[in-house]
Point group: C2
Chain length 391, copies 2
């Protein structure tokens, strides 16, 4: 077999992977959004790693954060970038592809292969832009269900993800509790707080303030670069912590002295400008509007996660990070308290990290220990019960 | 005497006040900025409350925050708005106008009567815009010294202020230690951290991203409304705390249901939009750029506050607020540690408040107790020593 030049020699990598697509909700079978609007002909971009076992009991759905995509692990042919959770997914890793079948799909409303506002509206032949229906986290999960059905998987061994991925984890349990054996919501919340809504609102206002946004109809002219760049800069501040910024940048200057002007004097300014400009190249402004609004609407507090009178047998591992001020540990603790009140099997871990919200992507070692052990226990228990059922 | 309709019946108010102006740095006496640039014919807007005593020993300089002004207490004739620290300045209040003579001036670089980028450049007859020299916190303080000299005040009984006002307090001690009997820096820092710089950089980028900013030359066209509004929305998030936002807004909707669109659904969104739009009416975009950059450059750490080998006899009261994450208590503690190492008389108080950074404007009662007692002790000791000197 010809070895691809980019194939990782790293034996812990899933190697070269490919994004695939399913299409559903054709004419007469339109997808009903929570808003009441419908959406036809949905494409879902996804990747898989590892192999689905005969009983289809080893499937894990991994869910991405706001600007993530289906490319969670390995590399694409001819490219160098590894997936966004590559250090967590692979042979012997937290999500061990020698044992489990991992699925990751791009959310609807996104811009990484799944249908979103930048997709062509079959009815007009032009990008949807703001004609795209409003979507919610429940809609994202309902779309993913089609993908899980496509594989003939009845019950997922686990759903796992951080940040908005964690909200989808909780939504999976709320929407399809009997189809989720275990859940790992990381650095997330039961509901967006007013501060979280406030940051997202400023992000949206920054995009919509840019005349190049053109009420969303910018596709033939190019992105609203300046507004989108500022929006992402705001985001980046919230992903880091005061301490991680101090460690990474302190007050170091880009040049050896002050400019006494409005150039980027400090390294942190240069970094934010770079991250902003880079984001413009890779993420659709309208998708940013839709997805931030979807997570602002997210609220599974009260009886949202588990309706009154119902019980849930899903096992939970909840992880938060001490320095995460965007999704602070108290929000994870609220999930834990709610689960405990409803007698759900829940383990909580608050990890010490200075990386702020980014920690869920960076703190590999401790998360690996926790997740590997948790999946082991879930899978072994599941297999035993599975055989019981067969007998 | 005819009673003004707006004259406060509140006996604790300083009543109707007037903003006054001094002009200095005329031809041949140009003001030298820290950047090396010079500035001619500077106007400083100021207000005073209470009376200067015969010995000129009862003068307190109160210093405003980023978007503040000279109007710290009382009301202007025909207007309803009280000054920004009205609850702290007046007869019997923390800064007791029955005992003390309070001065407050608008910083240079500002837009509330003092010379700044929106002022007319005498050399061109047009607003300075970006021709205005870059200013620093030390420049603000040097300009204020002209005002203190104007009153023939040798030594200030106290300099006091919160946030950027607190930086000016520290800068007064650094620049003119022998002229400052006591200092009250509140909710402030010795130097801007990378996170603080990052927020200011996003604020600036938001303004400069607006085409209506026109490289600063917008004065004949009107403010860069959208960019400036978004900039201020970012600021407002940092002034409040997660908890105060929860208490004030929680997830309450403006209307009785979701819009499933990009209108302001949540009260917090409406509030931020309102504050943004309001700011555009009252604050100059270029001043916002200049002043944010001035405080980003601010750094009196190391030997900045007290040069090696020097001693300082200024007494300090340092106040911080538990929920203030913009200028967190650890930054105030750094000031205290530095002062203690240099054997300066320093008292530190971390007040419990949920109001975040805004607390220095809101938490009146506890600040009043602390400040009144501190000023009493300073003034009494000063008077005794004063008489000693006379005898």
């Amino acid at each position: 077999m010809k070895k691809n030049k980019n194939e990782k020699t790293d034996t812990n990598s899933v190697g070269v992977v490919e994004t695939k697509f399913i299409v559903f909700a054709g004419p007469g079978e339109e997808f009903k959004c929570e808003s009441g609007d419908t959406l036809g002909l949905i494409t879902l971009a996804y990747e898989t790693y590892g192999a689905l076992n005969r009983d289809k009991t080893n499937a894990i759905l991994v869910l991405h954060a706001l600007s993530g995509d289906a490319h969670a692990a390995g590399v694409h042919a001819g490219q160098d970038d590894t997936g966004w959770w590559d250090e967590m997914i692979g042979p012997g890793k937290a999500f061990d592809t020698n044992r489990y079948f991992i699925i990751c799909s791009n959310v609807i409303g996104g811009c990484k292969g799944s249908t979103g506002p930048s997709s062509v509206n079959p009815a007009t032949g032009k990008p949807y832009a703001l004609e795209f229906p409003f979507i919610t986290v429940a809609d994202m999960v309902n779309a993913q269900r089609h993908l899980v059905d496509h594989f003939g998987i009845d019950t997922l061994l686990c759903v796992a993800g951080g940040s908005m991925g964690g909200m989808q984890v909780l939504q999976w349990v709320a929407s399809y509790p009997e189809r989720v054996k275990s859940a790992i919501p990381i650095a997330t919340t039961l509901k967006h707080s007013p501060q979280q809504i406030a940051f997202n609102e400023v992000i949206r206002q920054s995009i919509m303030a840019d005349p190049a946004w053109r009420e969303g109809n910018y596709y033939e002219y190019g992105q609203p670069e300046k507004g989108l760049s500022v929006a992402r800069m705001i985001g980046h501040i919230t992903f880091m912590s005061d301490q991680s910024m101090e460690e990474k940048f302190s007050r170091r200057l880009k040049n050896d002295k002050f400019s006494f002007g409005f150039d980027a004097d400090f390294e942190v300014e240069g970094y934010l400008r770079y991250r902003g400009a880079n984001f413009v190249k890779r993420f659709d402004a309208n998708s940013y509007l839709y997805i931030t609004k979807a997570i602002d609407y997210f609220d599974l507090s009260g009886a949202g996660l588990i309706p009154q009178g119902k019980t849930v047998s899903t096992r939970f591992l909840i992880i938060s990070f001490k320095s995460d001020w965007l999704y602070p540990p108290y929000q994870s603790q609220e999930i834990v308290r709610l689960l405990k009140r409803r007698h759900v099997d829940a383990t909580y871990c608050e990890l010490t990290s200075t990386y702020g919200h980014d920690a869920f992507l960076i703190e590999v070692e401790e998360q690996t220990t926790l997740i590997r052990h948790f999946l082991d226990k879930t899978f072994n228990g599941y297999q035993v019960r599975g055989h019981d059922r067969i007998r």
